[in-house]
């Protein structure tokens, strides 16, 4: 397979449009949201020229998947902010004195610090093997194969460590 260029990526979008819709529908469980995301995906394909892409279909699937996760994360953050700071309970918000953007970014910063503290503490408490694999892969950005060779374990060993770590962190973030 030879790399494809931007025009071909747009063609690939047309060819795999129904598959992409199927993925977005399975990912969101909501037709309207899926259609909305499909539209956004098209805009990104048009606006952000990709480098050479080997497999147009896999590339588009990954883009769609990332769009879903970005949106999920936004929703999660918005809910966290609403749970923690209710606009109506501070006198200043009612008076409309503070700039909304500045306030929002301070709230984001507070949530960030808290999330960082929770994650760092959870990672530090992981079993040794899982912690090393997690740090190399998720923090330092090495691939599973690279992590496997550094730790001298199999690739499936890395995946097992990662599963342990992710479960632990998931629980830590839920608490």
């Amino acid at each position: 397979m030879s790399p494809i260029d931007q025009d071909e990526l747009e063609v690939a979008y047309g060819v795999h449009r129904s598959d992409l819709m199927r993925l977005l529908l399975a990912r969101t469980g909501n037709r309207e949201e899926a259609e909305d995301l499909l539209q956004e995906l098209w805009l990104r394909v048009k606006q952000n020229p990709a480098g050479p892409v080997l497999n147009g279909r896999a590339y588009l699937f990954r883009m769609a998947q990332n769009l879903v996760i970005d949106r999920l994360r936004e929703q999660q953050r918005r809910m966290q902010r609403e749970r923690r700071w209710s606009d109506t309970t501070t006198d200043f918000a009612a008076a409309g004195v503070e700039p909304v953007d500045q306030r929002r970014s301070a709230e984001e910063a507070i949530l960030d610090r808290e999330e960082i503290a929770a994650l760092t503490s959870a990672i530090a408490n992981l079993p040794e093997g899982a912690r090393r694999a997690f740090e190399l892969h998720k923090i330092q950005g090495l691939s599973h194969v690279e992590v496997a060779s550094i730790l001298g374990i199999s690739r499936s060993g890395v995946e097992k460590h990662m599963a342990v770590a992710m479960k632990y962190l998931r629980r830590a973030l839920m608490d």
Partner: protein
């Protein structure tokens, strides 16, 4: 374990396996779609895993720095101590200091204080446990600790229920009795707040005709406006022990006094803000970010004054 929770666990394992599989260049997207379509709960399991990965990805730089600092700072120690170090100085110190204080020849008044920067846990006689917030102090009267006075700051009380005992906790003009419970009391000048996380208490004062009952999940706040009883999440009571300051409609004066204690900095409040209230949560950390965070969230202005700072309303534009 029930069948339902077993299958939840299985779904979680599958979601994790898919998450790893999709990182490959030759990922089986069709198999993944089929798995998602097989059960709507698969989507939820995957979402929960994807959100964790997204949170880590968002902060990987900072987390990496923190982990690196941690590893180089304390190499040979046991992992356990490293875990505590993360919880924050206050709680770690509280755990380290959780020792019984023997009261053999009880002096009439025994004063306990927590220094700046760390909280302190005290086991008194009769099953009374107190955690003192940084820069706070209590006076314990009598050998049986039947009267405790919060001199300043905040203290969390965990008191075993004992109908035969009479215990009073006073804070300024307010006194708390009928105690068998867990609650947190805060005093800053004339401002007073007590939150109850378990059981109930009764609060009396010269300012009110009858005692006010405060039960779990409620707080009583006294400020210039008088007494206000309102609901509060039980988990937010004494949340400072876990590194957070949580407020629900608290007078700003009280919030500023807390920040003053935690940051070790003199913080004054502009008289125009005395009637202002704050709801929200602040992360304590090393205390230095508390004031900037509050100022930004509430749109306040902070300016240097004398040896400290003064917060005022930001000029409207």
């Amino acid at each position: 374990m029930t069948a339902r929770s077993e299958s939840d666990e299985t779904m979680l394992d599958q979601a994790l396996a898919w998450q790893a599989a999709l990182e490959r260049d030759d990922a089986d997207w069709d198999g993944y779609m089929a798995w998602l379509e097989a059960d709507p709960r698969h989507r939820e399991a995957f979402d929960s895993v994807a959100l964790v990965a997204a949170a880590v990805a968002d902060h990987s730089g900072e987390i990496g720095n923190l982990l690196a600092a941690q590893t180089s700072a304390e190499q040979p120690r046991k992992r356990l101590s490293r875990a505590f170090a993360y919880v924050g100085g206050g709680l770690a110190a509280a755990i380290a200091l959780m020792v019984a204080v023997p009261v053999l020849q009880p002096p009439p008044i025994q004063t306990y204080r927590a220094d700046d920067g760390s909280s302190r846990s005290i086991a008194l006689t009769n099953g009374i446990h107190v955690v003192l917030s940084p820069a706070s102090a209590i006076d314990v009267h009598g050998g049986d600790a039947s009267r405790i006075e919060l001199v300043h700051g905040e203290a969390f009380f965990d008191v075993r229920h004992d109908p035969a005992r009479s215990l009073t906790v006073s804070a300024g003009a307010y006194s708390i009795s009928d105690i068998g419970t867990r609650f947190s009391v805060n005093r800053a000048g004339d401002d007073f707040r007590v939150g109850v996380s378990e059981g109930r208490i009764s609060v009396g004062s010269d300012h009110v005709e009858r005692d006010v009952e405060v039960s779990a999940g409620h707080q009583l706040i006294a400020s210039g406006d008088g007494l206000t009883l309102s609901p509060i999440a039980a988990a937010d009571v004494g949340s400072w022990r876990g590194g957070r300051l949580s407020y629900s409609n608290a007078p700003l004066g009280l919030v500023i006094a807390d920040i003053s204690r935690y940051s070790g900095k003199l913080v004054l409040i502009d008289p125009s803000l005395e009637k202002t209230h704050f709801s929200g949560t602040l992360v304590i950390g090393d205390g230095s970010k508390l004031l900037p965070d509050l100022a930004t969230v509430m749109g306040l202005e902070v300016r240097a004054e004398g040896r400290g700072v003064r917060v005022g309303a930001a000029p409207s534009r």
